[in-house]
Symmetry: C2
Subunit: 506 residues, 2 copies
């Protein structure tokens, strides 16, 4: 008979092993995206398959079942951290074991086919090609939800995977409020006589100089280059291999510097989160961001509340002028802010501005909710999509590629993911509001270039906990209240009323 | 009861898993050396530990014992490839299982301590610090040899680990012949009135230009950049993650271009070997170089027989002149060849020239042999070392750092490794001789810049086999004879007699 202490230690070793395989996989993925040679891929995919299966097996093995059973029986005698690990493993275990093995295998094959068909369909701008796969993906996911169980609404179970605790009721309420506020703002901007001059944005800015400026900014924002590195990829990302190794990537467009600069600042927000998780959690399933939404709150906070702050550019525009003198020498700080904050309805989510972005998310949310409640069929999607774009944004896609087929998410079976982007934005505004009470001299710190107090606040209230706290728990403890969309609305109204001289609208 | 076919398939899956973990480890090591952030290391070391233990466990598990037993019982019914895999696994298994587990653990700890003490000792140039650890390492290794067993000479068992089939008798004979030939050459060169002008070597050559030239040369030599990449490290190396991903690294010294250029060509030889192993061996323990010596034959062939060939520089010096015009514009091809082939006795093995290099290896061979035969004690080593340097090279180290402490090998428990360097050189000369019979227009191919026929010959005779043939089997089949030092001797005598006008010596 093993003592509880021994069982616990074996359990932790088991988790350390899973974590080690995941770290190796993380490095493999990073390498594949940053510069692995083309011919590496065939065999590297085998390696990924073998390591991923091992992670899955270790997470769902009879050994794991045994740990869960024995430790759950002695839960009251366990320390808090072990209880959290146990809960995390149990959730994963239940999710994975509730699906019959052959159905899960079918699902993995379906996803892999759907992803490549989606690519083809988008290229040909032909939703009909993708439709049968999407229909099957929705049906399978719907069946899985039955296995997993749900409360009130089947879609809630999917939301819970990405944002534990967030339900359809919550989202309907906050999205309703945001829509009421944003739609008039968008209309007001359309009618405004203010037309920002954006010509400076599209002037040539050499890649090497963009890179140097990005590194300069990253250092000032507190990104630790001894615990990370900056590389170049087609699709920018941040990846935390361990808290001492959180890498970010960016993309340089020599004819539009915004992607690299704001993209880097955005990824920096993700990276600061992972670099500042309590090192005591390393090697456990708790060493990571607690949810997609909280992760996105960190990147959006950094991008919008720091990186688009007027004081930030009052400080950094002179540096930018040094890196690309011809481009920026005649641009004043006000012109610069007006230009980079231009808002206009557009069709592609990833290119949307700060104001209209949430509308793109809402459209996807409403469609997903409809699909999983039976209010909407896959075959109707292009029509539904276009109608909603017309309604919320006043524009209509001219084809499926710039409409219903633009995002990869659904082809990979990710339903319930999109709302996290908008939630992240609301969380960020709410954190900012709470932070201002503790740090009234927020603007001054941005102006000074030393944002350490701001970063430390986030570490204290968010980063360090990793997954030991649920997203809404973090929000409640950091801000003293539950999810509240008003802070985001207030921020957007103030910002855009000022930029577009909309006092009449308010 | 499982069918033989099923057992075989399970065995292969087991080997695929080992190979996958090794590939992941290979990428981790590459990453650590090429640019992983400093703070990554602590947790990455845990990952390395976990994956390495898994490889060890899979290679020595009861499951492996079962595979070996069952397949060996049906050996005559197996295909050739499975038999080779079985032999490879059995050898590993026996080696590892014959050491009592606690002794092996002690040994791992000892090695890790010895390595860090060696570093300190070399820094302080104080052999006394390292002596107790080296004594213990030799004693432990000697004990392991007893467990493993040996024929005639305990040192043979160690040699066999790196160069299967090569024994003390063989080495005594070939090294004896090489020494007889080289020592008079070295003396002749010392007395020669020819004094190469090497001033051009030490002129400033910008790193970026060295890199561009290196890439240019790599492409011409047939290195496939779709199956590899070139990076920068303190200690250059080549690493084959899979045959579609063989990476090389180099080091740039702006005040001495030789390290980067010849180092890159050397690593290119290693890489061509691994890029051209039969892809059918991928995922098995047979997909790798067959021995240290054969590997080194490929790098030395490329470095010395191609990269120092007069036609090579008749072709490439004009390109070099474009990359660094001031440095090379006044240098003729003959001056260039004379300069880069300068030979003079030196103390540090890794900086030695082509002629004296083998003497450095012989000294180490004789010392190792003495240590494992009981003819020599660890405490005597500095004295023995210095005496041999005086005898063979006519120079004496002024301290332990540039003498007995210069190489890392012994601190890691690698005894029997050094001879492979010299064997590789002999193999290379022997391959060259055999190749000339099939490709009499060898020089012409080098001059033309298209060495495809040369590369194809090596792939046909050496590369493709991976570990399916033993080193001496490859040598025999490619050259029609066993190890023969005469080709290397002949090459060195011709080359250096000509360079230093030594006709009188012969």
């Amino acid at each position: 008979m093993l003592t509880l202490e021994t069982v616990k230690n074996n359990f932790v070793s088991h988790l350390n092993k899973i974590s080690a395989y995941e770290e190796a996989l993380g490095l493999i993925f990073w390498d594949l995206r940053t510069g692995a040679p083309k011919k590496a891929i065939e065999q590297r995919s085998e390696v990924i398959g073998i390591l991923s299966s091992e992670v899955f097996n270790l997470s769902t093995s009879d050994q794991m079942a045994e740990y869960i059973k024995e430790l759950t029986a002695h839960k009251s005698e366990l320390d808090e951290l072990t209880v959290k690990m146990l809960e995390e493993c149990r959730k994963d275990f239940d999710r994975n074991r509730k699906i019959p093995e052959d159905e899960f295998k079918q699902y993995v094959i379906l996803k892999s086919k759907a992803e490549s068909i989606w690519e083809e369909a988008r290229e040909k701008s032909d939703f009909a090609l993708f439709e049968p796969y999407l229909t099957e993906l929705v049906a399978t996911t719907r069946r899985f939800v039955e296995y997993w169980g749900y409360e009130e609404n089947p879609y809630n179970t999917l939301l819970d995977m990405f944002e534990p605790g967030v339900t359809v009721d919550v989202l309907d309420q906050v999205f309703g409020r945001v829509r009421e506020a944003i739609v008039p703002l968008v209309k007001g901007i359309e009618a405004s006589t203010v037309k920002p001059d954006t010509a400076f944005i599209y002037k040539h800015f050499p890649k090497e100089s963009q890179k140097e400026f990005s590194i300069h900014v990253l250092k000032e924002l507190g990104y630790d280059f001894e615990a990370g590195r900056l590389d170049e990829t087609v699709h920018p990302f941040a990846t935390g291999l361990n808290t001492g190794d959180v890498r970010i990537t960016t993309r340089y467009d020599e004819d539009d510097f915004r992607g690299a600069i704001f993209g880097t600042i955005h990824e920096c927000g993700h990276a600061l989160y992972e670099q500042n998780i309590d090192p005591a959690l390393t090697g456990t399933p708790l060493s990571g961001g607690t949810s997609m939404g909280i992760h996105e709150s960190q990147s959006l906070f950094m991008e919008n509340f720091v990186g688009r702050h007027p004081e930030f550019w009052r400080r950094h525009l002179p540096t930018l002028q040094k890196y690309s003198p011809e481009q920026f020498s005649d641009v004043s700080v006000d012109d610069f802010l007006q230009g980079i904050n231009e808002s206009k309805p557009s069709l592609i989510r990833v290119d949307a501005d700060e104001l209209t972005y949430t509308l793109h998310i809402m459209i996807r949310y409403e469609i997903e909710k409809g699909l999983f409640n039976g209010d909407c069929e896959v075959s109707e999607l292009p029509e539904v999509w276009n109608r909603k774009y017309e309604e919320y944004l006043g524009i209509v896609p001219s084809n499926d590629a710039e409409g219903i087929l633009q995002d990869v998410h659904w082809s990979g079976g990710s339903f319930g993911y999109f709302p996290s982007y908008a939630l992240g934005y609301m969380y960020a505004a709410q954190f900012k509001q709470a932070m201002l009470k503790d740090i009234p001299e927020f603007d001054h710190h941005i102006a000074s270039g030393d944002i350490t107090p701001i970063k430390n606040w986030m570490t204290e209230k968010v980063h360090r906990f990793g997954k030991t706290k649920k997203p809404l728990e973090i929000l409640q403890q950091a801000t003293g209240e539950g999810l509240n969309a008003e802070y985001l609305i207030q921020y957007l109204e103030e910002k855009y009323s000022k930029l577009y001289n909309l006092s009449a609208v308010k």
